[in-house]
């Protein structure tokens, strides 16, 4: 009974209800931001803007999770006169929020059902938005690339969930979890694109101009250094000096995660190299020693090794951000640049870089706490035997939730298949 993985009515019902709720909530709350509204012409005149290119759309540019994230983040950040005013920046932030959910998915993939993933999304997006609001609006933390809000939060949330969902007999399906030659090539395509786009991720919601430009440069440098130390360590830790695809697919990206907070600051190119250097090492070490240890001793089964790519590099990123903020001064940034970089005006006009650094550090702890508490709540909810999760011996099996074509069977046309007469089935 607990292993009834037939989702035929449960999954559709939940999806439709969620989507209907979204339509209603969007209808009530969501409107276009002035830059995406036809009143833009008047807006331009009023603010003395001479060109369409000043529309924020040209400075930036990038599912249920996304819709829910648009709403949750909208209520916290873009709520005005009873409406959420959305623009392309909201879309990017919603993508980032869902990115954090996907990070957490990485810890539990293979042993949960699509319904469990939906529930997890619903709660995690909510808590992500609360955490983000605390960090960015209450603690006035800088975190453009999301080392804390996206990666640290997402990773420890997922690890907490998987700890509660521990399955002692998972080794029964171990061989299905092993990497396969062709799947490894597929994963490398993913790595390649993530690597290429990471400078865009970290700079996407930075302040226009120099900060955005700098965020791309720092991320690029950190990624480059990270690849080299990942290759070094992957080879050094294997008896015959061979490279391991899993390390190359993952640890090469850790440098991007770890400059997520400081990328828009004056981290300096060599500073970025140092961060990447360290993260290539930490992340690869994690795959080789820590992941097996977490599983065998702490009963934390981390399917994709998110602790190595997002957890530890995320915390490192938070620390690097705090240290970089602490060392900021007018000499390095220039007077105007210093104020602009940390918003030291209005309520923050009497802040020093040391105060900023303290709040940055606080942000790490808040994110960790929110992640662990939130992950525990979700874990307990997902424990109920209602959500159609697979038996231990069926974990990591595509066939449980996907129709997998048999050898000789046609996939497109199946006029004789029972699915065509669902009433009779």
């Amino acid at each position: 009974m607990a292993w009834n993985t037939n989702l035929r009515w449960r999954l559709p019902l939940i999806c439709f209800l969620l989507e209907a709720a979204m339509v209603i909530l969007f209808g009530v709350f969501v409107r276009y931001n002035p830059e995406a509204d036809p009143h833009w012409e008047e807006e331009k005149r009023q603010h003395n803007i001479s060109s369409d290119i000043e529309n924020d759309f040209y400075y930036r540019y990038p599912t249920f999770g996304i819709q829910w994230a648009l709403l949750m983040q909208g209520w916290f950040h873009s709520f005005e006169d009873g409406h959420i005013l959305i623009s392309v920046e909201n879309l990017i932030n919603a993508d980032f929020c869902v990115g954090s959910v996907c990070v957490a998915f990485g810890a539990v993939l293979g042993k949960v059902s699509p319904i469990q993933l939906l529930i997890m999304t619903l709660i995690q997006v909510t808590l992500f938005s609360v955490n983000e609001y605390i960090l960015l609006n209450l603690l006035h933390v800088k975190d453009a690339g999301g080392s804390m809000t996206i990666h640290t939060f997402g990773a420890y949330f997922g690890l907490m969930v998987t700890w509660i969902l521990f399955r002692p007999n998972l080794e029964q399906s171990k061989e299905r979890q092993s990497s396969v030659y062709h799947s490894d090539l597929f994963a490398m395509i993913g790595t390649l694109f993530l690597w290429m786009y990471w400078p865009s991720f970290n700079s996407a919601v930075s302040k226009h101009g120099d900060a955005q430009h700098r965020a791309a440069i720092n991320t690029y440098c950190s990624l480059a250094a990270c690849v080299l130390t990942t290759v070094a360590l992957s080879s050094a830790l294997q008896r015959k000096g061979k490279l391991d695809m899993v390390h190359i697919q993952n640890a090469t990206l850790a440098g991007g995660v770890a400059v997520g907070t400081a990328a828009e600051m004056m981290l300096m190119p060599y500073g970025s190299l140092i961060v990447g250097f360290i993260c290539g090492i930490v992340s690869t070490f994690g795959f080789v020693y820590l992941t097996p240890f977490l599983e065998s001793r702490l009963r934390i089964q981390d399917t994709c090794g998110i602790h190595n790519l997002h957890g530890m590099p995320g915390i490192i990123g938070g620390i690097v951000g705090s240290v970089t903020a602490a060392t900021a001064n007018v000499g390095i940034y220039g007077k105007e640049g210093f104020i602009k970089a940390f918003d030291f005006e209005g309520p923050k006009s009497d802040w020093t870089s040391q105060i900023q650094a303290g709040y940055q550090a606080a942000g790490i702890f808040v994110s960790l706490t929110m992640a662990i508490v939130g992950g525990a709540i979700v874990g307990v909810i997902l424990k109920f035997p209602l959500w159609g999760d697979p038996a231990d011996e069926n974990c990591f099996e595509d066939e449980v939730y996907w129709e997998v074509p048999k050898d000789e069977e046609s996939h497109m046309y199946r006029p004789e298949e029972p699915a065509l007469k669902p009433v009779a089935s």
Copy 2:
């Protein structure tokens, strides 16, 4: 004789002739638009433009089909003093035109030869340009994302062709058409990128500023909703509640198709969710019930199910566009915004949104008519037993037109192969 699939002289000859024709036509007709011409400096001064960033290149950005489309669309849309003046916008529009041809290809793939695809391209590009000219320039229809001009036209064109090319014994090669585990993963990569880029597609040729910004937002919302209802229905229509890769690969994109006309209008975010909601359902239903019905009863063999991803969503998109136009008014758009959104000035200065809506609706019927008539003509031409199409038992077989490496055979170096001495062969 009808099944002589050796294209050795037919294919090269046609390709070379076409390419030679292109060179001549381009030489006679095609020049750079002022924004891509070195006279841009003078152009800037003359129009009082202060920055290079106002060059249209920075607002937009993206094969024989492409060349022929550049010419055909150029003659209709960018013809001045005997020359076609091309810019990046023409390149994007040519890509869209070829996109429409690729949609039509989806209906006939596997049972036609490369030569037949070339002929189809030649004629379809021509008719696409005529149809586009009628819609955009004569009927003054708005269709930035091409629900009507690209998807409706392309889909019904292809379906007409495949209807005429009906093969009663196609089930002989049925097992080769079935989906395969690895090919399904490949297709998912395609889906992922199409999904990511669809907001760019729908906004690429929109008016600068708010319209372009809004087009991206609406497309993004529609796609998000569409995924959720596709998952719901895919699971609900399978006996054991499993998901089907073909649905996820296709129907998740239908929401993007269906806001192709209205994306730049004030469809509102919740309106986009509703459109996506509906299209996920319609498209998945299509795959499960309509495609087998079309094949068994109407003798329409639709290889990739284009009717579900482009046909029905395209028509829905046209209707949504017409309805959204009908409800437009000065209250929603602002006075200036209303005029700008629908070009209600000059010859259209006395138009109302109801008139616009009427013409939008007319655009759907014109596109359908052109597609069906054009597809019939092409179908009849492709029936001639001259074009090297495969026998029924060889359909969906890569080996017919591609050199497929045998197990132990080297591919790069084959100094002993006859291909190296073509004179002797």
Copy 3:
């Protein structure tokens, strides 16, 4: 002994030393360019720039090789007051430099070790920067898309290295080099993205405005023509008229390489078609006849056929650039445009287009000479039996340098594997 491919200490040691050197060199030399520095605010005021969008970041956008390239190119091109000032343009140029190294890799892949690739990178990046400095700064050559600096230089460098590393018994591992169905599909994804992005490559570092716009148009046209003649010739050269995946994967891109120099000039759209037309033919011919000839007669083993995609098209590109420059005049470009296009001011104020053309031609020969001499040096260094290269019978074998999962073996968790206790091993 010569075939000791265990890199366990050699590879990590070299990687760590290189990365440490990078950190030190970056610390001493590299700073942000004013557009990526917080003094940007003052910069804007000083230069009377009214908008952040004028930051060069918005006009452009995109490993050890990259780091070393940033330094080498930085010393030559962006060195000021003892510091290299980097911006996004430097990142792009570093990518291009590493692209040239990757071209050269294509000639030797499968018969060299990762250490050899690192050494090759170190030296080739250095010489690339010298060559680039000679061409762009001393000869005042135009080469925005790098037909000469990237492709010609990279290709002949790699061919020289592989000539020296000739292995007479390579046919022992021949069957592993042959193309495989799924790998061919993977490669097609690569081709598709390269094809799509090539207009961006060739225009990335062009002058703002019309030149950049034109570079994208010309590249697009050349690529389109190239596909058609590649298909034609691939079919014509096969006995049964079938298409060859290797040709389609490679020769379809040759048109992009061959407009690398002239793309930003007034090559005209039909001129681009002609260049693409020729390159599709030359490149496909190369794969069918020249590559086997080079291997059997000249002992040049060109693993990926880089001579066909980069070597010959690169030289053609250099020639096309020279001819296009020679025909430039005030009538075509306008007075201001002519000066801007070729920098005919300051030290070049008395230059004619014929002088420019002469220097362009000289650039081809300089690039070839540097490539051949540099490749010879690297080839000799790589001959030393120290670098862990594979035995002839192990060439093209992934298992030599990569940990390849065995059938039933789990990849992620291996608490019992010796790699976990490296001290004991």
